[in-house]
Each structure stands twice: as structure tokens, then as C-alpha cells.
């Protein structure tokens, strides 16, 4: 273990969470997810600050979606990562690998201690996820516009198998500027892949500017609908709304689902939220302390 990993090891404080108990009341389920997401953010913030690298803006934008998927929606478990009948989740915006690893660790798919190796030499936890190194990862993503076609392929395999397993893919909104996504949506619609759910992390920011001033996607809902997908819009930081829509498969019979999850990059940190500067900026000591205290107060 490198000196840096040794130093980061002291910063690994993440508790391990069980899945949401679906027999519990709705408020209790949502509270469970909210607390998991809060702890995942705290851990991710520590990893990025102490490692000196990562994509904190996109991580914080996506963490509530990832938490809802792994904590309550996906039919998978740490013991079933190779089960052919497991649900598949593909993280197309692979640069938020830090958020994915932290979420996987929070729900037992990765030893929490391994988080200390994030980005260190020879770590399994690369800056973009690698399925040959981390068992719960389904595809090696990083270049944008790759996850959705792979998800369509998996959803097709499930349809061929007459299987009820579901496919979820999380794409960034800026990522939708890649044409391959639209090729894949045409195919998803053509093949009536009703057990495929595309989730858009609609934080309206890309690396250097807003999506709007770069290459605007609006009207996004209309575009997806025109491609034959059933569109739902939710608050991407509201675990209840996410839980409801992501559990509704099929959302509309015969049509793939396109969930526009409205999010804020850097959520909920006051000075990061919706601020384009925080795509992959690393918080300095003062910023780190403030962000940490905001997350700890949130409790």
C-alpha cells in the first residue's frame, strides 16, 4: 500500500448498509436511503479531498440515483454478482466512478477498506470502472455514449431469454450529445424494450459550461418521446420519487423508459451546487471542512 493510500485509509469511515426493507413503511425506506446517500457523500468527499482527484460535481449529482438503485431497486446482491438473472446497471458516465465505488462499498459489493486504494497504483478502483477488476461493474465505461448501446444489447438478451431481468443505465445529460445514444434509443424503441430504463442525470452542466450554451438538449423530453421512449421526470435527489419511477418496470407497456432525473451538480453543498467549476475540482482544506460540516449537519 502506498503512503497516500495509507493516509487515505484513516479516512475510510463508511458504514455498510443493508438493502431497504420493502416491508417497512415508505417513510422508513426513504430515510434509510437518505442516510446511506449522506454517508456515501461524506466518504466520497473524503476520498476526493485526501486522494487529490475525482469528479465531485458529477458524483454528488448522481449519488441519490445510485443509492436508490443499489439500496432498493436492483435485484442483485453481493453474493449474486455473477447470477445470469441479476438485474444489470450500467454506469455510462464512467467518470463518476468514485460515486459508484463508494455506493458499491456502502451496500456490501466491495470491501469498504478497498476504497482507500482509489486511484492508487495497481488499484482495482481506476478513475473509470473496470468490470474485469470490480465484480459488480457491468461494462468498462469512460468514453461517453457507450453505456446506452450496451444496455440495449443486454435488454435484448433478456428479451430473447424471455427473462424478467431488468436493465438500467445512467447517462449524463452532456453525454447525450454523443450520437451513439440516439442510435441506441432508436433500437430500444424498435425492439420494444420495455424492461430497459434510461436514467438521465440532468444536472444541466458539462465539463466547461452549461449544456444549454454548449449544444442544447431541450426539449429533451420531447426528443426522447419522439424516439419512442416513455418519459418520466423526477427530482433526482428525491429518493421517494426515484424509488417509485425506477421500480415501475415496465413504465409503459412496449416502450423503454426515459427518466429525466433533475439534479444539481455538487448537490447539496452550498458552494458547489450548480456551479460549473466543480466538475473535477478538488476541495482545499477550508472547502473540505465546510462541505463536511454541511453534510454532517444534514443529519
Amino acid at each position: 500500500m502506498t503512503d497516500l493510500a495509507e493516509a487515505v485509509r484513516g479516512q475510510v469511515t463508511l458504514p455498510v448498509f443493508g438493502r431497504v426493507d420493502r416491508r417497512a413503511g415508505r417513510a422508513e425506506q426513504i430515510a434509510h436511503l437518505a442516510e446511506a446517500a449522506r454517508q456515501i457523500r461524506i466518504q466520497d468527499l473524503k476520498l476526493i479531498h485526501h486522494t487529490g482527484a475525482g469528479h465531485i460535481g458529477g458524483d454528488f449529482s448522481a449519488i441519490d440515483i445510485l443509492t436508490t438503485l443499489y439500496g432498493a431497486v436492483l435485484d442483485i446482491s453481493p453474493e449474486r454478482v455473477a447470477d445470469p438473472e441479476r438485474d444489470r446497471f450500467i454506469l455510462s458516465k464512467g467518470h463518476v466512478a468514485g460515486a459508484l465505488y463508494t455506493t458499491l462499498a456502502a451496500f456490501g459489493f466491495l470491501p469498504v477498506a478497498e476504497l482507500a486504494t482509489f486511484l492508487q497504483p495497481l488499484s482495482a478502483l481506476n478513475g473509470h470502472p473496470n468490470r474485469t477488476k470490480v465484480a459488480a461493474v457491468e461494462a468498462n465505461t469512460g468514453p461517453l455514449g457507450h453505456g446506452l448501446p450496451v444496455a440495449v444489447g443486454h435488454a435484448l438478451s433478456a428479451k430473447l431469454d424471455v427473462s424478467l431481468r431488468r436493465t438500467y443505465v445512467l447517462v449524463g445529460d452532456g453525454e447525450l450529445q454523443e450520437g451513439s445514444n440516439w442510435e441506441a434509443m432508436m433500437a430500444a424503441s424498435q425492439h420494444q424494450l420495455e424492461r430497459l430504463t434510461v436514467i438521465v442525470d440532468r444536472n444541466r452542466l458539462q465539463q466547461g459550461a452549461t449544456v444549454k450554451e454548449t449544444n442544447d438538449l431541450d426539449p429533451l423530453a420531447d426528443k426522447a418521446a419522439a424516439f419512442g421512449l416513455a418519459v418520466a421526470e423526477v427530482n433526482g435527489h428525491d429518493h421517494g420519487e426515484l424509488l417509485d419511477v425506477l421500480s415501475s418496470v415496465p413504465y409503459r407497456p412496449g416502450r423503454p423508459t426515459f427518466v429525466i432525473a433533475h439534479t444539481n451538480k455538487g448537490h447539496p453543498i452550498s458552494f458547489m451546487s450548480g456551479n460549473v467549476a466543480w466538475h473535477h475540482k478538488v476541495p482545499d482544506e477550508a472547502q473540505y471542512r465546510q462541505a463536511l460540516s454541511e453534510l454532517e449537519k444534514e443529519h
Binding site: H146, P149, H154
Partner: protein, 318 residues
């Protein structure tokens, strides 16, 4: 009685062997599916579609999606055979081949149809001469260039049985059968089709038979040419290459692809590192002018006489 020349043997379109083998494999293994980009006709897969209507997935004219979909099908336990013109498959979807297939280690078989200059007069947009150089640079991807129907069939059987990413070129230009009926494909192994001690010709794909005819001509002049068939460009049979460099006066490589980074490049890399020797690389050095596939191969020195000339020149200056 004079020996029959390879040049006089009947010729076959390797796509016929491809579809026959794929259909047979699919009949025996439910996991096998075809994935195409509106290329049912050019891949000769109409019969496959009739036999397995649910198992031929046509994503339309969308190569990036085609290869990503194949990776997802593999993730779901299927064995996809992507079947598309090599020019579009390898150029348009190169990043999907790299990230979704090779780096992700998804069990996808990429079948580059009508490669090289098979599309002749359609011009360089439709020629696929760069595919071997591009794909050879990608880790975790076996690159195979079969030379006849028997080898096409054998390579496909091997690809279906092995777990992992494989690229197979499927020739359109007709070629004679140069391998025996009971040929067994061994990945990463050269096959000595003619033994010889003066000079070595290393070839694969549609130009291998031309190298054999060149060797016949050289033999008539008293020059003993070794002909190595090199179906696997990656991993390369470095042992056979080094032996050729050591035991003969030099090596001529012949391929239906660019002279930069293809079979010739692979051979040269091996030779300079392990046993420096003279190497002449025949291939296509530029965007080819208008002409039929056969015309273009001849033009770039890959007629039997052109290949023999390259060997003679190498021997003269060796």
C-alpha cells in the same frame, strides 16, 4: 504429369463458408446470435435469418450501436457474431471495439466482411485496408485473417468455442482452397504450406494463394521459397518468423491491407528485435485509384509475378 498450379484450382467466396458455418454453429448452440448493420445481404445472412428469425439482430445503419449492443448481448450470456463490412465495422465503431468489447472483455466475435480492397471500384471509402493495423494495436483482441473457405470455417469454430473477443476477416474476393479439408485452426500458429530454404514468403487472406503461385514460379527457376500461412496476425507466431529470418535469406510479406502496421509491420517488429534480416513488405501504401480488387492487388505488386519479383530482388541484394 505436371503438378496442378494453385492458380488453376476452383475459387470460392469465403462468405459462403462463413454463413454455412455460422448457421451450423447456431443450430448447435442457442447462445449464438448474429448482429448486423443492415448488412444481411452483403453478409449473405438471409438464410440464417430464415432459420433463426429471432437471432439475427439488425440495428440498422448504426455501427457504434451495433458493437455496443453486441457487448450487451454478451453480458447477457449470448455469443454475438457481429457481421458487417469491415470498413464500417472497424472504422466507425473502433472505440466500441476497444472499450465495450476488448477492454471490457465481452465475449463478442467481430466478423469483418469484404475486407481489404474487395469493394474495388467503390473506392477507398469502402476499402478496409487499415483494419488490421488498428485492431492489432488493441489489447485483448485476437486478429485472424483466414485465407480460404476451410480456414474461415475453422477459425469461426474456434472463435465460437473460445471465451473472449475475436476479430475474423471474411473475404469476398474468391480464392482457391489452399488448406486441406481436415485443417485444424491453431490460434497464433503459422502453417508451413511449402518448405524452402532460400527465401520466405509470409502471407494470409486473399493473397496467400498468390504467394503459393509465386513460389511455384521461383521453384521453376531453382529458388526454394518457404511459404508461411499466417492466419493469426495477433498474437503472431514469432517463433516461425524468427526461424524464417534465421534460416532463409529474407522475408517477403504479402497482405491485402496497408503496409503500415499490418502483417508486414508485425513481422518486421519481430525480426528487428530478435533476428535482424531483410524484409520486403507488400501491401497497399495509399488510397487506391479506381480499379477492380484483382487489378489493385496486381498494381501494388501482389500478382504472383510481382511477389516472385520481390523475392528475386531480395535475394539479389541480400
Amino acid at each position: 504429369m505436371p503438378r496442378t498450379s494453385v492458380a488453376d484450382l476452383p475459387r470460392f467466396d469465403c462468405r459462403d463458408a462463413y454463413v454455412a458455418t455460422l448457421s451450423e454453429l447456431a443450430g448447435a448452440d442457442q447462445r449464438i446470435v448474429g448482429v448486423v448493420n443492415d448488412s444481411v445481404g452483403s453478409s449473405k445472412l438471409a438464410g440464417f435469418r430464415r432459420s433463426f428469425p429471432d437471432r439475427l439482430i439488425n440495428v440498422g445503419i448504426a455501427e457504434q450501436d451495433m458493437v455496443g449492443v453486441a457487448a450487451g448481448l454478451a453480458n447477457g450470456g449470448r455469443i454475438p457474431f457481429v457481421s458487417a463490412a469491415s470498413c464500417f465495422l472497424t472504422a466507425r465503431a473502433l472505440e466500441q471495439i476497444k472499450a465495450d468489447v476488448a477492454y471490457s472483455n465481452h465475449n463478442v466475435k467481430l466478423c469483418g466482411m469484404s475486407p481489404g480492397v474487395a469493394y474495388g471500384e467503390l473506392g477507398p471509402t469502402h476499402h478496409s485496408i487499415e483494419d488490421i493495423a488498428w485492431l492489432r494495436a488493441i489489447a485483448n483482441l485476437t486478429v485472424i485473417v483466414p485465407s480460404d473457405p476451410v480456414e474461415t470455417s475453422a477459425a469461426l469454430r474456434w472463435a465460437a468455442a473460445v471465451e473472449g473477443p475475436v476479430f475474423v476477416r471474411v473475404s469476398r474476393m474468391s480464392v482457391p482452397q489452399v488448406n486441406p479439408d481436415d485443417y485444424a485452426f491453431v490460434p497464433g500458429r503459422a502453417v508451413t504450406l511449402r518448405d524452402g530454404g532460400d527465401v520466405t514468403l509470409i502471407a494470409n487472406g486473399t493473397v496467400l494463394w498468390r504467394a503459393l503461385v509465386a513460389a511455384e514460379r521461383l521453384e521453376a527457376e531453382g529458388v526454394s521459397a518457404r511459404v508461411l500461412s499466417m492466419p493469426t496476425v495477433k498474437p503472431l507466431d514469432t517463433e516461425a518468423v524468427v526461424a524464417a529470418a534465421r534460416e532463409t535469406a529474407g522475408i517477403v510479406t504479402i497482405e491485402e491491407s496497408t503496409i503500415a502496421g499490418g502483417l508486414g509491420g508485425a513481422v518486421a517488429e519481430t525480426v528487428v528485435q530478435h533476428h535482424p534480416a531483410r524484409v520486403a513488405i507488400l501491401g497497399i501504401p495509399e488510397f487506391a485509384p479506381t480499379g477492380s480488387a484483382a487489378y489493385l492487388l496486381d498494381r501494388y505488386g501482389m500478382s504472383p509475378e510481382g511477389i516472385a519479383d520481390a523475392a528475386r530482388s531480395l535475394l539479389r541484394h541480400g
